[in-house]
C-alpha cells in the first residue's frame, strides 16, 4: 500500500495553474472552537488559511525547504476540501475532523489546547512561514496518472502527522524531494481504521469521490 502511495505521489506532485478552475474561486470554510465552548464558522482565503496554520503545525524555525514542503502539504488538503465542498460531495471534508452531524460542510480546526487536530489559529502567521507559503504559491498535489475510477478532478488531499512533519525536516533537498521522502520512508503514517485515513474513502460505496 505504501509503495503504491509513494509511486502515486511521485507521479502526482506537479503544479498546474489551469487545472480545475473551481479552485481559485472559493474560500475555505472551517469551524473554530471558541474559549466559551462554542463554534465560530469562518470563511477565509485559502492562502490566509495556510498562513495561520503552517506556523502552528511546522516549527517556524525550521529551514525554508521544510516549511515550503509543509506549505504544499497543507495547501493540498485545502484545495481538496474546497473543491469537495464546491462539488457537493457527501464527504466534503475528506471525512476528517468533520464534527457532528449536519456540519459536514465545515472543516473543524481546534487548538490542541482544546483537544484539536489541525491548528488554524487567528493572527498566528509568522514571517518565515509566510515566505515559504508565498514561495510555493499555487503548488499542490495532483494525480497525474489516469485514474481507473471516475473522479471530479485530480486533486490529492495530502495528510500529515508528526512523523511526516519530522521527515520533511530530517532530509535534504528541495521541498518536493522532502515531501517524497516523507511519504516514501519506512513506516505507514496512515491507519486504515481511522476516520482521517488516506484509504478510508475507498471503502465508500460512492465511486466518484475516492480520496486517492
Amino acid at each position: 500500500m505504501l509503495a503504491a502511495l509513494g509511486l502515486t505521489l511521485l507521479l502526482a506532485l506537479m503544479w498546474s495553474s489551469t487545472a480545475n478552475a473551481l479552485i481559485p474561486s472559493y474560500k475555505h470554510r472551517h469551524r473554530y472552537i471558541n474559549p466559551d465552548y462554542t463554534y465560530s464558522y469562518y470563511e477565509t482565503g485559502k492562502e490566509d488559511y495556510i498562513k495561520n496554520t503552517l506556523p502552528n503545525e511546522w516549527y517556524s524555525t525550521w529551514d525554508a525547504d521544510t516549511l515550503q514542503a509543509g506549505a504544499v502539504i497543507i495547501r493540498s488538503g485545502v484545495y481538496w476540501r474546497v473543491n469537495r465542498s464546491v462539488l457537493g460531495s457527501p464527504w466534503p471534508n475528506n471525512n476528517c475532523y468533520k464534527g457532528g452531524s449536519g456540519s459536514t460542510l465545515y472543516y473543524r480546526t481546534v487548538p490542541t489546547s482544546r483537544g484539536g487536530q489541525e491548528q488554524w489559529l487567528p493572527n498566528s502567521s509568522q514571517s518565515s512561514t509566510n515566505s515559504a507559503i508565498d514561495a510555493t504559491y499555487g503548488y499542490h498535489a495532483e494525480l497525474v496518472s489516469p485514474s481507473a475510477t471516475p473522479r471530479p478532478d485530480n486533486l490529492v488531499g495530502l495528510r500529515y502527522n508528526p512523523t511526516i512533519q519530522n521527515r520533511t525536516h530530517n532530509t535534504t533537498g528541495d521541498w518536493l524531494t522532502r515531501i517524497r521522502y516523507a511519504y516514501l520512508n519506512q513506516g505507514d503514517p496512515y491507519d486504515p481504521n481511522h476516520e482521517c485515513s488516506q484509504i478510508d474513502d475507498q471503502t465508500s460505496t460512492n465511486p466518484f469521490y475516492p480520496n486517492y
Binding site: S101, P122, N123
Partner: protein
Amino acid sequence: MRRSRFLPVLVLLALLLLSAGIATVAGRQVTPFLDKQENEAFTLRAKTIGSTLSRNDLFDCSTYVPDTHPLLPIEQQIFHVVRDIKVTPDDGKDYLGAVWSPSGDAMVFVAPTGDHRDILNSDALPSDEDTQLVAISKNELVLYFPDRNTWKQITSDGARPTWSTDARSIYYMAGTDLMKFDISTQAATYTGLRAPNTGVGLLVSRPLSDGRLLAPRQPHAPLEVQGDEMPAWGPIEVAVSDYVLLSPQGDQIVVAYGANTWKGQFVPALTVIYHPNGEVTPLLKNCQASAIEMVWSPDRNRVAYPVRAQRSEIRIYDVRSGQTQVLVRLDTPDLLSGLSWSPDSRYLAFTLGDDRVTPRSIWLVSTDGTTRQRLMAGGLLPNWSPDGEHILYARPGTTRLLDWYLLELSPAIQIEGEQRK
C-alpha cells in the same frame, strides 16, 4: 470623428469599471456605506490602542527570550485522587466544556449542535475582509448534577451560561437575547435585554452574574453594561477580532485587541485590563495565545496566563501591585494550557503537552511557587470545582472531540489553618 476614435477606449474603460465593481461586491459582500460605519465605529478603539502602543515597556511575546534556567517547583503530592469517573453520556452530543455552579453541586455543559446562526451585520475590522466570521453555532445547554448523575436540557439554543451568585438561576444568551433559567421552576424567560445581530453582538456579548448584560446596544456601538449604571471603565469599543474576559465579579475586564485578528500586520495584538476606577493597564503585546488562555483568580486580584516560548512559562499578574511573577518555566517549548485556579487561589491546575511531541498530562502547582504535582497522565482542560474537592477534565473522545471526567480529590498535605476532613 473624435468620439468614434475614443469609443473603443471608453467601452473598454466601462467594462473594466463594471467588472471591478462586480468583483468588489462579489468578493467582499459588504457595501461602501457599511465600511464607513465600521471605520467610524472604531475611533475609541484606535485611541486606546494608540495610547497603549506608546508604552515601550510592554511584555512582547514575539521578541521574548526566556531565561535559560528552568523554574520548576519541587515535586510533591499535594492531592490524592479519590475517584475518577466518566460523566458525559455516549449520546452523540459534542460536549465542549462546562461552567460550575457557585455552590459546586451542578454544572452547565455547552454542546454545539449542527445548526448555526448567521451573522447578519458584520463588524469586522476593515483589514479582515479576507477572513469572515459568517456564523456561530447553536448550542445545547445541559444541566448536570454530579451527586444524582442526572441531566436536564436547559435549551437547544444557548451560549455563555452564567450562574447567578445565589446559584438559583442561569443567565445565557439565546442568539441576541439574554435569557434567565430558573432552577426551581425549570423555566426560561426573556429578560428584556438584547444584543445586536452582529459579530460582536453574538460572539462577545455575555451575561453578568447579577442579570445585567455586557453588549453593544446597537450595531457598531461600543460594549456597555445594560440593565444598570455604567461601570467606571465606561464604554469599550471592540471589533469581532478582539477577545474579552470579564473578572468573576464583572467589575474588571481584560480586552485582548487583535487576539482574533487574522492579519497581524493591521494592528499588533495588545492586551489591556480595564479597572473599576476607570484606569486602563497595558499588559501584553503580540501574546494572542496567552490572552486567549488567560484566567482570573477567584479573588479577582490576579490573572494567570501561559507564554509559549523556547522555554514555556506560566505567569501571574497581580492587578493590585502591578507585578508579574513567573510561576513555572519549563526547559522545553511544550504547550502549557487550560489553566484553572483552585477556589482558594492557592493552586493552579494546567495541561502540559498536546499529545504531539509530549503526551498530555494534568499538573497542579502552588501559586506561591513552592510545590507542584503531576496529577494524572493524559487529560486536558482541568476545571476546578467551587468546593475545591473536584476537578472536571476532558480526554480526547473516540467518537467525538472530548469525553469529560470528574476527579474527586483529597488533600495529601495538611494545609496550615485547615483541618483534614
